[in-house]
Symmetry: C2
Subunit: 230 residues, 2 copies
């Protein structure tokens, strides 16, 4: 029997590739967290489609309403606008939910301890993370120390971040190489029918596909210039 | 103007004393988290009473439903019984919610970052913690490293655990010395009108008051032997 891995899956491209990598070695327990983001129903559909495609043994969908209550981010606070993408910016973007990944990894760790899973797959990407502090390798290393300190002595769970050193271009290439179901993913922060093509997330995705020399299988709003971000 | 501290407050005795200590130096932002535990409405009342008594500037009540979905603990899983207290036991008790404090500290950290608070007061107690791994000093130290790694460069938040080295007896004495509103607290895991007097939490509390030589101001079920745990 194979060991289990919990996979954090947003419904986006990075976690889809991360889940596909995990599925080569582990039985999958796929975890999706809603936190009041604008596009959460569309992301949930993408999650379910990807979990079914990869044959996940367990799925869990949870809700972190309090991130919306705490606010401080344009993803959850309707009074803040989602800014236009600026891939050269060095500031932390307004879509940053403070310390969000610590919440997601806490849920993953609790579930992994109950299931007896030995790995948590987390699709964080340092290079393309637009300055989110909780996507960095140093954060993941600190989290692994926290798990060791805060779980039962017989529990040994490690967070794996197979994409953390990759560019979006490399992630697209790896996804296609591994036959990851990229056609089922959803990345756009702003729209739910057709991707908007100009939020941070669309911009990073379009640039990744452009540089990888592949056509993105998802539909963009009419008039989207898929070569704008290169 | 005083700096702000986020205080994690369950409504129990330890966090009440921790909040009272924080109130001597900081403006209080008091945070209460419900996670599907049996006695959550009674604990919420205790939280609100304590926050009002201490003049908290901000309060936030949030809900972590997913801990109940994940299960694995008698506090949230109705199919598991709350075991009778056994203060000599070395096993981790069934009331353990796996990795619970990592969830609570994540919420506290996100809120502290948004509010500009510089401290998180957390009433963890290592000695009397009945073996919860996420109450240990090593866990808190690991969490402080995680906050430094996962928040904005200009954010510097530290978790303080003023009770971590204290026995319940010493906490009772400190609470009385500081005039903490112990009469407003609720500790019992099993009942909501009168404390049951025999769950783990009641046993630790009764033993603490007995050893401190004080009368516990809360009401226990008729026939409770307040000197049973010494």
């Amino acid at each position: 029997m194979r060991q289990k891995a919990v996979v954090l899956a947003s419904g986006g491209m990075d976690s889809c590739v991360s889940a596909t990598i995990a599925s080569k070695t582990y039985d999958l327990a796929m975890l999706h967290v809603q936190y009041g983001q604008r596009t959460q129903e569309r992301e949930l559909k993408a999650f379910r489609d990807i979990a079914a495609h990869l044959g996940a043994q367990h799925t869990l969908v949870t809700n972190l309403d309090h991130l919306a209550k705490i606010g401080g981010s344009s993803l959850t606070d309707d009074s803040m606008e989602v800014t236009e993408a600026d891939l050269e910016a060095v500031d932390i973007p307004t879509s940053y939910v403070p310390f969000r990944n610590a919440h997601l990894l806490a849920i993953a760790t609790s579930w992994a301890e109950v299931l007896g899973a030995v790995r948590i797959f987390f699709g964080a990407v340092e290079e393309d993370s637009s300055g989110y502090p909780d996507c960095r390798r140093s954060f993941v290393e600190a989290y692994n120390s926290l798990i060791e300190a805060g779980t039962k002595p017989e529990t040994h769970i490690q967070v794996e971040t197979p994409l953390i050193e990759l560019s979006k271009e490399a992630i697209v290439k790896k996804g296609i190489e591994l036959d990851a179901p990229l056609h089922l993913t959803w990345s756009c922060y702003a729209a739910v029918d057709e991707a908007c093509g100009h939020c941070d997330s669309c911009a990073l995705r379009l640039r990744g596909f452009y540089r990888a020399g592949h056509q993105d299988p998802v539909t963009y709003a009419p008039g989207t210039d898929r070569t704008r971000y290169r």
